[in-house]
């Protein structure tokens, strides 16, 4: 048993956040007020908000994993992704909006890692919402200062000769790391390969699973 509070865990294994049955906070009151004002003013509708939440809930790292697996197996796509990531992923049905998408391929002697020091910019349309740690002060502060130590905390230990490149996201630009294709996957199709691509491997805090 992982810990004692299993009764309070959601189906995904995470604790429930204080929510509907806790005292109303100032900021929750503001959220309700802003939402209702926008609906009353005709800026948006309750149904549009609900649809937006559904769309967001539906996004998950499996989408990014499909992009990585295709990069590994389709050289024409790989070239297109490097040339214009937003357009190449849009053609796969993943709309990343008006932002630029930069794919960062790792190499045997090169490891990329992505951070947003200012806030939490993240390729959410390919990976879903960012994990809490991505938004944490510690990750944002330290990744640009001591990336190898941060990587070690995530269980990624790099050889001394490996170059580490840290990429700081901006409001208009999103990054996705293309992890190295694991050894022993020669001849695998894209679907099988995608199962090896973890969320963290596309942020750079992990590497792809080995078969």
């Amino acid at each position: 048993m992982p810990h004692d509070h299993h009764d309070h865990l959601s189906p995904s294994g995470h604790p429930y956040r204080s929510d509907d049955d806790h005292p109303l906070t100032y900021w929750q009151t503001m959220e309700i007020a802003v939402r209702e004002l926008l609906i009353e003013k005709g800026v948006t509708t309750a149904s549009d908000i609900a649809k937006q939440i559904d769309a967001m809930d539906a996004r998950n790292p499996a989408m990014g994993a499909q992009v990585v697996a295709r990069y590994w197996t389709d050289p024409a796509f790989a070239a297109a992704l490097l040339a214009d990531g937003a357009q190449a992923t849009r053609e796969m049905g993943f709309d990343i909006g008006p932002m630029k998408l930069i794919a960062l391929p790792n190499a045997p002697d090169l490891h990329n890692i992505v951070v947003c020091t200012l806030c939490s910019c993240y390729p959410r349309n390919l990976l879903g919402l960012p994990p809490d740690w991505y938004k944490s002060r510690a990750y944002r502060s330290r990744t640009v200062r001591e990336p190898r130590k941060v990587l070690a905390e995530f269980g990624v230990t790099l050889a001394d000769g490996t170059e580490v490149r840290v990429h700081d996201s901006t409001a208009d630009m999103r990054y996705i790391v293309i992890p190295n294709r694991p050894a022993g996957t020669e001849g695998w199709d894209a679907e099988a390969l995608a199962a090896l691509v973890t969320r963290d491997s596309m942020i750079g805090t992990g590497i792809a699973r080995t078969p």
Binding site: I32, L38, V43, Q52, S120, S141
Partner: protein, 103 residues
């Protein structure tokens, strides 16, 4: 804060509450309608100062910034916001009651 010293990266993860998802949805919908940009969101977040990163949660900072940007864009006035917030508080003591009651 990039480059500042800090402790270990926290590994806790929580499921987003409904009100947090709604804040996120409002940000996406309003920026999609051209009411403000992600730069606008970040400008207000940066202006809040370091202390707010200690005292407010992530989506608390976001709703504060979304609200500020919407007032600047003329979507509603501070007086309308204040009236609406007191009306909501009168509905009940929990988010569930205040969010769903009387509508």
């Amino acid at each position: 804060m990039g480059g500042d010293a800090a402790g270990p990266v926290p590994t806790d993860q929580h499921d987003f509450a409904l009100w947090e998802k709604r804040v996120d949805a409002l940000m996406v919908l309003c920026s999609g309608k051209g009411l403000f940009t992600v730069d606008g969101l970040r400008r207000v977040l940066e202006d809040m100062g370091e202390n707010s990163f200690e005292t407010m949660t992530y989506y608390e900072r976001w709703i504060a910034s979304v609200n500020q940007n919407l007032i600047e864009a003329g979507a509603y006035t501070t007086a309308e916001l204040a009236a609406k917030m007191s009306q909501i508080k009168a509905r009940g003591d929990t988010y569930g009651e205040a969010s769903d009651a009387a509508r």
